[in-house]
Amino acid sequence: MDDRIAKIYVPMTETGFYILYCLITPQHGYGIARQVEWMTNGEVTIGAGTMYGTLSKMEKDGLIEFDHEEEKRRLYRITPLGREVLERELKRIERLYLNSRGEKVNG
């Protein structure tokens, strides 16, 4: 992962994290939005413009790639670089969680 990608995506926005996480399975924007709504019980919602912009940006940066098209809907999937970013972010969130419980991170 180069510095530019790390600078933009670590730490990630909540929207970015959920979108990247959902793309472990190929999906289109609306599908991601519904999944996020379901997973968070409606606490996190992603607007259409935000979804479109984030997907375009992540595709350009190589975190996700085009999978196939269904009725003019573009389906994306995560790339190895995207997984690397996601892993790093998950470690960070885990650390935050452990620390918030008063626990120390074990190296």
């Binding site: 926005t13 909540e14 929207t15 289109h28 924007g29 609306y30 939005a33 519904r34 709504e37 409606g42 919602t45 992603i46 607007g47 259409a48 413009g49 935000t50 979804m51 479109y52 912009g53 984030t54 098209e69 009725e71 003019k72 809907r73 573009r74």
Partner: protein, 184 residues
């Protein structure tokens, strides 16, 4: 066919929030937005009063069919494009899920403000500095078409209009940008 009504209203590139509110007010009065005619005419058709949310999105490049498809999936109906601005609407009663906004985070809101600044305000400034201002100077010096008073007035008015637009739009857009960046 429904009766058509044309209204005149001036909204600059920095007044999109006001424009959205105005279109919603018109919908409540029973005027359904049909299309826009550059620079400041809005065509409506008369319908039953309804509560409709309008949102504007600014895209500098032509987006593919997938863009429209995605917004439609989310429940937005396109009501045309005008000079890079996409007009979208949805019934206020049907704003379940992703709510009333096209943009749900500051990063994407900031992205739109930046697009407007870069692709609208910068070219405007270039035209001003390269065409309007030099012409005005030449008109003042009497070098333009035999020192015609008409050209002096014309370029003087143009310059005044441009300066007003820069101050108004530039100030407002930069303020929006600052506020959105501050929250990060």
């Amino acid at each position: 066919m429904a009766e058509r009504v044309t209204k005149l209203a001036v909204f600059t590139i920095a007044d999109f929030k006001e424009e959205e509110r105005w279109l919603r007010e018109k919908a409540r009065e029973g005027l359904r937005f049909v299309r826009m005619i550059v620079p400041c005419f809005y065509v409506f058709e008369r319908v039953e009063p309804e509560d409709v949310i309008y949102r504007l999105d600014f895209r500098d490049a032509q987006e593919g069919a997938d863009y429209e498809r995605m917004l439609e999936d989310f429940g937005w109906e396109s009501c045309g494009n005008c000079m890079g601005w996409g007009y979208w609407r949805r019934s206020a009663a049907e704003t379940a899920g992703d709510g009333e906004e096209l943009f749900s985070d500051d990063e994407s809101r900031l992205g739109m403000v930046k697009r407007v600044l870069q692709t609208r305000l910068l070219p405007l400034m270039t035209i001003f500095l390269c065409c309007v201002l030099p012409s005005l100077v030449r008109a003042i010096n009497g070098e333009l078409y035999g020192a015609s008073r008409f050209f002096l007035c014309f370029f003087g008015l143009m310059a005044a209009l441009y300066i007003y637009l820069f101050v108004h739009c530039g100030g407002k857009l930069l303020r929006m940008r600052r506020e959105l960046e501050k929250k990060d």
